[in-house]
């Protein structure tokens, strides 16, 4: 590298000084020296080979003419030569970039060659590259040696889980074994920190930081570690963390070799669980080896045997509960051969039997124990203490026997029982108690009911069937009490009802009496009505006659009036004629007067000669005057007569109208009287029917009287019966005592029934009505 730098400097400075030709010669000499010692090849910028020295040709095994004009890719792995990376490599060289390193190349016949090489773009005067010179040395042998050690490392990697870290714990690489154990892919963990495999709580501890600090410091770590897989599963590993140092002794990475010991760890945990279980168990276990020497006793069996130690010692003086382990179990048996025979053969196992030691009884159950290879290696023995069970049996038998004999007062003795059986015995005692209590109470209640106290009830709190008994008994009591209350109530009601009936009957009797007198009055009224009806008929007849007479008179009056009218008309016409005559007379008198006056005038004119004539004229005038006065009087009289006649006509007309009215009125009166007559007849008929009705009513009244009497008697009897019923019920004690008091007051309301008056509407008072009576109508 230093050489190439130097050369580049030389190349860059070569043409800067024209005067330095000497120096150029010096450089050329050096280049030649390099060419002699190194493998050199030159390319155009695109990679076409232009030259190679002997060293290079030897290395690759080609002749010069075989490679000049060819491209550099002929030395490259064809796969690599086709890659963009390779193309880029040449592009970068063409731009003047410099490369150096170890490269894998292929020699003639595909021989693998490792070279240490530098690719040096050579720049022209304008600093533009115009060719590439490569200096290389063959490092193939060196490479193969390192490959050997790498192969060994690979072998480790195949058998072990391997993971590499930077000194700070960042994951660099891991092999398949490791990845398989943790369940990650390499891509998932590369660049991650080691803590992803650890309990997060642990990674926060100073201990963990220290762990990595130590490794970074070059300290080696080994042991069993708990780690976690990708799925969170717990993994136990046996691992070593190996810091790898560079030549300067500085740690540049940490390699960890690990093996998965999870299964082993789990087995350990399981065995610990079993051991602890046995230690803490209430069940009593011991184990013996093939020679029946006791190898293990759990605390429970020790305690139990210690408890019976004095008793056991009486039979087996050598027995010592503290020295069981190491003792042969033969010591427990009178006939050890039998046990030996059984326990010698694992095909007989497991087996249960009872072990009698004097008064003591134990249950023993033996099971086989095998070693890792499945060989019969001893037996486990489970003990059961039957001694308390026996006591319990005795107590239970005692209670059952007493119960069967009907004595429910006997209870099991709890004092003699241990903690196992005491609660059981207590339970049995409670059961008996539970049975006894409701039965006793039921018995008491029934006794009270038998003594007529129907208010007695079971009040205790019971469950299930006992509660059913309680409820049914109480319901029976309720029903009985309700029934008798109902009877008492009914008796009360019957009593009060009979009293009411009695009162009703009395009122009925009074009513009948009143009715009878009313009927009598009705009879009398009917009689009067009968008489009045007769009178009516008479009057109607008379009225009829009178109205007939009035009618004929009116007719006569009418015709007389007609005649009168005719007469008046005649008078009127006569008067008119007379008036004319009178008027004529009056005119004559007037003229006569005038003549007389004129005569008087003439006489006066005549003087004395006319005196006599004047007297005559005066006489004439006087006659004329009297005549006029007479005519005047006559006229007045005639006028009066005519006026009177006319007045007569008017009156006549009025009279005629009145007469017509009288005639009409008379007819109507006639009709009305006929109706009155017919109504009177119907009235008489009606009265007859009423009379019959009254007779029937009287009869019914009589019957009513009799019925009310009977009803009163029956009510009285009913009342007595109700009273006696009530007395019967009174013997019972019932919930609602006021029932009796109410009845007693009703029972005393009995009243004597008034006998109804024995009167009747006498039949002879009934008016006989015949049609004959109405014939006059």
């Amino acid at each position: 590298m230093t050489d190439t730098n130097t050369q580049r400097n030389e190349t860059s400075t070569a043409k800067t000084d024209a005067k330095a030709k000497q120096q150029l010669i010096d450089y050329t000499g050096q280049v030649e020296a390099i060419r002699r010692s190194q493998a050199v090849i030159e390319f155009e910028l695109d990679g076409t080979i232009t030259f190679a020295n002997e060293n290079f040709l030897q290395t690759v095994g080609y002749r010069l003419d075989e490679i000049v004009g060819k491209h550099h890719r002929m030395f490259a792995d064809p796969e690599y030569a086709a890659s963009a990376e390779y193309q880029q490599f040449w592009d970068r060289l063409a731009r003047g970039e410099f490369f150096s390193g170890e490269f894998r190349r292929l020699g003639k016949g595909g021989k693998e060659i490792w070279i240490q090489a530098s690719y040096n773009p050579i720049l022209d005067e304008s600093n533009k590259p115009f060719k590439v010179v490569k200096y290389a040395s063959d490092i193939t042998e060196q490479k193969l040696a390192s490959a050997d050690s790498a192969g060994q490392i690979n072998a480790i990697g195949k058998s072990q889980a391997v993971i590499e870290f930077t000194p700070d714990g960042t994951i660099l690489n891991a092999n398949d074994n490791f990845l398989g154990a943790v369940g990650y892919t390499l891509a998932e963990i590369q660049g991650q920190h080691h803590r992803i495999f650890c309990d997060p709580a642990y990674t926060k501890t100073p201990e963990y930081s220290q762990f990595w600090a130590k490794l970074a410091g070059g300290e080696y770590e080994a042991g069993e570690f708990k780690r976690f897989g990708k799925d969170g599963s717990e993994i136990w590993i046996q691992a070593s963390y190996n810091p790898i140092m560079d030549m300067s002794g500085k740690v540049f990475k940490v390699v960890k070799y690990a093996s998965d010991i999870t299964a082993q760890k789990q087995a350990e945990a399981e065995s610990r669980i079993l051991s602890d279980m046995l230690k803490g168990a209430g069940a009593m276990f011991m184990a013996c080896d093939k020679d029946l020497v006791i190898t293990y006793c759990n605390p429970a069996v020790m305690d139990m045997l210690r408890q019976y130690e004095p008793a056991i010692k009486k039979l087996l003086p050598k027995f010592d509960s503290n020295k069981l382990i190491g003792t042969c179990i033969d010591d427990f048996h009178k006939n050890p051969a039998h046990q030996r025979k059984i326990l010698a053969d694992d095909s007989m196992l497991p087996i249960s039997s009872e072990l009698k030691l004097g008064p003591l009884t134990f249950g023993v159950r033996a099971a086989a124990i095998y070693d890792a290879d499945g060989n019969y290696n001893g037996a486990s023995v489970e003990w059961t203490d039957f001694n308390d069970r026996e006591k319990y049996r005795e107590q239970v038998s005692k209670v059952i026997a007493a119960s069967e004999a009907g004595d429910l007062s006997v209870r099991g003795d709890l004092e003699v029982l241990n903690d196992v059986y005491r609660p059981m015995m207590e339970g049995i005692n409670e059961i008996v108690e539970a049975v006894v209590k409701p039965i006793t109470e039921a018995s008491d209640v029934l006794e009270r009911m038998a003594e007529a106290d129907l208010t007695a009830r079971m009040t205790g709190e019971y469950q299930g069937d006992f509660n059913n008994i309680k409820e049914n008994l109480n319901r029976a009591g309720d029903a009985l009490e309700q029934a008798l209350l109902g009877v008492a109530d009914s008796a009360g009601q019957v009593g009060s009802a009979s009293s009411q009936i009695s009162e009703g009957a009395q009122k009925l009797a009074e009513g009948a009496s009143t009715q009878a007198s009313s009927i009598e009055e009705i009879s009398a009224s009917l009689q009067e009505m009968q008489a009045m009806t007769g009178q009516n008929a008479d009057n109607a007849g008379q009225a009829n006659t009178l109205s007939g007479e009035a009618l004929s008179s009116a007719d006569k009056g009418n015709s007389a009036m007609e005649r009168m009218e005719g007469a008046i008309d005649k008078i009127k016409s006569s008067s008119d004629q007379t008036a004319k005559i009178v008027k004529t007379i009056d005119e004559i008198a007037f003229q006569t007067n005038l003549l007389a006056l004129n005569a008087a005038v003439e006489a006066a004119r005549a003087g004395d000669a006319g005196k006599g004539f004047a007297v005559v004229a005066e006489e004439v005038r006087s006659l004329a005057k009297r005549s006029a006065e007479a005519a005047k009087t006559t006229a007045e009289l005639i006028d009066d007569a005519v006026k009177n006649a006319e007045g007569g006509v008017t009156i006549t007309q009025d009279v005629r109208e009145i007469l017509t009215d009288i005639v009409d009125g008379s007819r109507k009166v006639n009709d009305l009287i006929a109706e009155i007559a017919s109504a009177s007849k119907e009235q008489a008929e009606g009265i007859k029917q009423i009379t019959e009705g009254v007779t029937a009513m009287d009869k019914v009244t009589q019957e009513n009287s009799a019925n009310s009497e009977e009803s009163a008697a029956a009510a009285s009897q009913l009342n007595e019966q109700a009273q006696s019923l009530n007395q019967m019920i009174g013997k019972f004690t019932l919930g609602q005592g006021e029932q009796q008091a109410a009845f007693t007051s009703n029972g005393t309301t009995k009243k004597p029934v008034t006998t109804p008056r024995k009167t009747s509407a006498k039949p002879q008072n009934v008016i006989p009505l015949d049609d004959d009576d109405l014939a006059q109508f």
């Binding site: 005119e587 007037f590 003229q591 007067n593 005038l594 006056l597 004129n598 008087a600 005038v601 006066a604 004119r605 004047a614 004229a617 005066e618 005038r621």
Partner: protein, 183 residues
């Protein structure tokens, strides 16, 4: 006429009254009785057809043809400014002789009715009483006491002359002229 002490006035009155005594034709207008000297009366006729003459006073009823002689008729009620009445059967016309401006003429006066011819003695006649200044009583000759009543005695010439008699005369005169011309 036995008078012990008489004055000249009395005498004159007696003389006058003596002149007034005589026969009178009495007639009625309404309730009142009037008298006219019998010698002035020519004739009494009943009511007859009266021909109305135009352009004459209302009191002139018209003219009648009395047996060929045309005579004017005066409604005396109207002449005396009394309320007019319809004619009756009693209504009469009294034909009287009168003198106007020296000329003798006949006229009819329409009255309600004629009563009688009375001969009134002097002692029943009283002179016309004075009714105060300005009251013309020239047409009354005097007052006649008949029983309890008073009859007014008329001077018929004065009655007829006093009131528009000139016009009547003129008519009369014309009539006469016409008659003469016709004759």
């Amino acid at each position: 006429m036995s008078v012990t002490t008489t004055t000249s006035q009395d005498l004159r009155d007696q003389k006058q009254n003596g002149e007034l005594a005589g026969k009178y034709l009495t007639f009625q207008l309404g309730e009142e009785e009037f008298g006219v000297e019998i010698l002035k009366v020519r004739e009494i006729i009943g009511l007859m057809d009266i021909t109305v003459v135009p352009r004459t006073p209302r009191s002139i009823r018209g003219v009648i043809n009395l047996r060929g002689k045309i005579i004017p008729v005066v409604d005396l009620r109207l002449k005396f400014m009394m309320p007019s009445i319809d004619d009756t059967e009693q209504s009469c016309i009294i034909v009287v002789d009168t003198t106007t401006e020296g000329r003798s003429t006949q006229m009819g006066i329409l009255v309600d009715t004629v009563s009688e011819v009375l001969d009134i003695p002097v002692d029943q006649i009283e002179p016309t009483p004075a009714f105060g200044n300005g009251v013309n009583t020239k047409f009354i000759r005097g007052m006649a006491r008949i029983e309890e009543n008073v009859k007014i005695l008329l001077s018929i010439e004065e009655v007829l002359n006093h009131i528009d008699l000139t016009a009547v005369e003129a008519e009369q005169s014309e009539q006469d002229t016409n008659d003469a011309a016709a004759a």
